[in-house]
Symmetry: C2
Subunit: 300 residues, 2 copies
């Protein structure tokens, strides 16, 4: 099955107590597609970069089997994000230079419009909707969002929520979106908008996958040392979507496994800056962690 990922492609400058990287490969579409590539052999991305975007980054994506023909190279500079972490739970944005991303209007190539699985990374909900209008109805549509859109584009976001199946959202965001402080009440309210599944990301506490009559708690994978959480949520979503795209039936058991695979790909990513770890793992390492997490959660 094919998976299409739309999102940002960025050059990140990140600094924390473990070190610093400058203009390192990042962005939601990059992290998500790399994570997905370990499960699904048919991953494509749509996004925009500037003429300054290093060729080796594209080469890297291609080397993971990711179809980059939907990558638009626009005149100007690539989107840049500069941030730091004082503790590892919260990114502090120092500078955002949208550059060519400011005028990003995703154009879905014809051959991508038939993709069965679609992940709309965290971009303006109006753009997410415009992507949907270019797709023949995919089997599963998932989206990520953030505070910025919940506040600034609330109406468009609520319209989008009626059109998708799966939402990735963090605790603070779902509280803001619904006005409910108890996350199970908040999830209930979002499910009523018509979604099939909500994945509430709880950072260092794991995640909860909530469906109408089902619930699944996933812990984190306890890594030796968290180096840089940038991209953790995107790797989670990418691993999740890559796994379900690789499966033919989407029952709740598949969704549970996908949640764990999302957890695992995310756990690798936070062990290094930028994509340095997530670009270099393999399925054996992933399945090792999967089995460890099973041991850490199963009881009789």
């Amino acid at each position: 099955m094919s998976l299409l990922i739309i999102g940002s492609i960025a050059l990140d400058t990140v600094q924390n107590r473990f070190g610093k990287v400058k203009d390192a490969l990042g962005g939601s579409a990059v992290y998500a597609s790399l994570a997905a590539s370990y499960f699904c052999k048919n991953v494509s991305i749509v996004g925009v970069v500037g003429t300054d975007f290093p060729k080796e980054n594209i080469k890297l994506l291609k080397s993971k089997g990711i179809d980059t023909s939907g990558l638009e190279i626009a005149d100007g500079k690539t989107f840049r994000w500069k941030g730091k972490y004082e503790n590892l739970n919260e990114a502090i944005t120092l500078k955002t230079s949208l550059n060519v991303f400011a005028n990003f209007s995703p154009k879905i190539p014809d051959n991508f419009s038939l993709c069965e699985y679609l992940f709309l990374g965290n971009i303006d909900p109006e753009l997410q909707i415009s992507v949907l209008s270019q797709m023949k109805r995919p089997k599963i549509i998932a989206a990520d969002t953030m505070n910025f859109w919940i506040e600034g584009k609330n109406k468009s976001l609520k319209k989008l929520l009626k059109m998708i199946d799966i939402l990735f959202i963090n605790e603070e965001e779902i509280r803001m979106l619904t006005g409910e402080s108890y996350i199970f009440d908040a999830a209930e309210k979002v499910l009523q908008m018509g979604l099939k599944l909500i994945i509430i990301k709880q950072g260092e506490y794991g995640s909860i996958a909530i469906a109408k009559n089902n619930l699944f708690f996933a812990p984190i994978f306890p890594v030796q040392k968290v180096i840089d959480p940038t991209g953790a949520g995107d790797c989670f979503a990418g691993g999740f979507m890559g796994y379900i795209a690789s499966q033919n039936n989407i029952n709740y058991e598949t969704l549970k496994r996908a949640t764990i695979y999302g957890t695992i790909t995310s756990s690798f990513n936070i062990e290094g800056f930028s994509v340095e770890i997530i670009k270099n793992i393999n399925r054996v390492q992933i399945d090792n962690r999967y089995n460890i997490l099973k041991k850490y959660t199963q009881f009789s």
Copy 2:
């Protein structure tokens, strides 16, 4: 097997947005023994109350099969705690009146000194140590503690930690105790003091049981509505200890199950003020939630 519980017995005045109770039954020994009583038929408590302590409270404990012969009735007033919650994650102490608890010096009746399982509720670590000196070596010794003792009686607490098997502690406390911010590093440091198991309580995020070569993540049980978290940690410890005391072999599978049973008893308790829920549940209800939580965490 027999379980002895030492801790506070209190009359609590608690207020939050759902209501208020005045001089309601509380205290770590009360919550823990009630929770334990659903698993273990041989639970005893040691504690002190004043002459004002309502007889019906003692009657209640006895009605659950709890041996109250170690309950000292001292001249004066019962320990009182007055608190409020603005959000349900953090208790704000308005007033603590130690009363007879100020001079509490636990005296373990001869027939209790042979108890195989011991839970030292959250009291001065010097008193916890004095209890140990009165016991013939129990099979399993568990203790709870808090910030107040980590700061004020650090040396005694560290001495205690060398003498016990299981520690119940929350995230903030284990960070304070060890100076490590990453909880897995913090747990490692505490395990090196000689403990067999550390249960890190994470409030609304569940708990983690960490042993030398083992780890178990327990989520919360998602209740309809959290009314009052007072006593949640004590019910957790009581359910945990009651379950292991009811079993004859303490392998890691037993400890996992105990962690889930602790989670479940605690989940009932927070659905009402004081002991109003925890005093009135039964094993069928507990096992129902146990099986639901299994469904919510197991994957293949």
